[in-house]
Symmetry: C2
Subunit: 160 residues, 2 copies
């Protein structure tokens, strides 16, 4: 009975630890909390690593606004690019970076909001260790959507 009890206790301790591990995983940055489907893999011409995009609001002449969601896997980032009317980013989970050309790289986390002004070069992506989930908003799309530029080098990506 004593041996059985010790085994049972050991099992329940493991079960308890496992349950706690699941709680931790729910908010772990390697397992982002998806609100939308993951979407389609972004083209290798415009992204380094795996970035998954789903469009939420398509462009039209009523709202002139494009909205979508991107999941950057750890290490993934966009190329440098510009938007003719700028961009608003809303970070909904994970951790990553945003950099405006000529400025230091910013670290982003859940709940952060970033604006990039019109026609300014920028890139965004996940940190090397954690994925990042972001909603993007492109306003005033009558002026256009995006102009893709060169890759973000590893040196640029890792510079602080």
């Amino acid at each position: 009975m004593k041996t059985l009890s010790i085994s049972a206790i050991a099992f329940l301790i493991l079960l308890s630890i496992n349950s706690r591990a699941q709680i931790t995983n729910k908010v772990d940055q390697n397992n982002p909390n998806f609100v939308f489907p993951k979407g389609e893999l972004g083209p290798a011409d415009n992204f380094t690593g795996k970035a998954w995009n789903i469009g939420l609001i398509e462009n039209d002449s009523v709202y002139n606004t494009v909205v979508g969601n991107v999941y950057f896997e750890p290490g993934a980032r966009s190329n440098w690019h510009t938007h003719p009317s700028g961009q608003i980013l809303i970070i909904t989970d994970g951790e990553g970076y945003h950099q405006i050309k000529g400025q230091p790289r910013q670290t982003l986390k859940k709940g952060d909001i970033v604006k990039c002004p019109p026609n300014v070069e920028h890139w965004h992506g996940a940190s090397p260790q954690a994925g990042m989930l972001q909603i993007y908003i492109l306003p005033k799309t009558e002026k256009g959507i995006v102009t893709w530029l060169q890759k973000v080098t590893d040196e640029q990506y890792l510079s602080k």
Copy 2:
């Protein structure tokens, strides 16, 4: 020793159940997954029940876009209102309703996206049983933000 073991097992079973309950609560619609702070209580003149608002992007002449987050507690809803350039709603957790004047009430859940056209009367809010978390986007704010109208009656709120 036997009594001690049984107590320890009972304790660990309770611990395990409690840990699992926490996991369930994380996705329960009565405990929405907050990305942003809850914000300020919306004024009783414009809302029925408790609706908490936090501004994320303030109006300016560069983006002409206002973004914010509302948490409607169970049973809470906005008044009828219009936006001169329309509105985009992104439901990030919970469950609720959206109704455009003259159309049936729509049920909304996590991941749903809704558009309401310019100058059209609408209301939105939580279901009676579950809170609702939503991000709102107001485009083309050079035309204005919002015109508040009459309360949504209980009959309107509960009509299917």
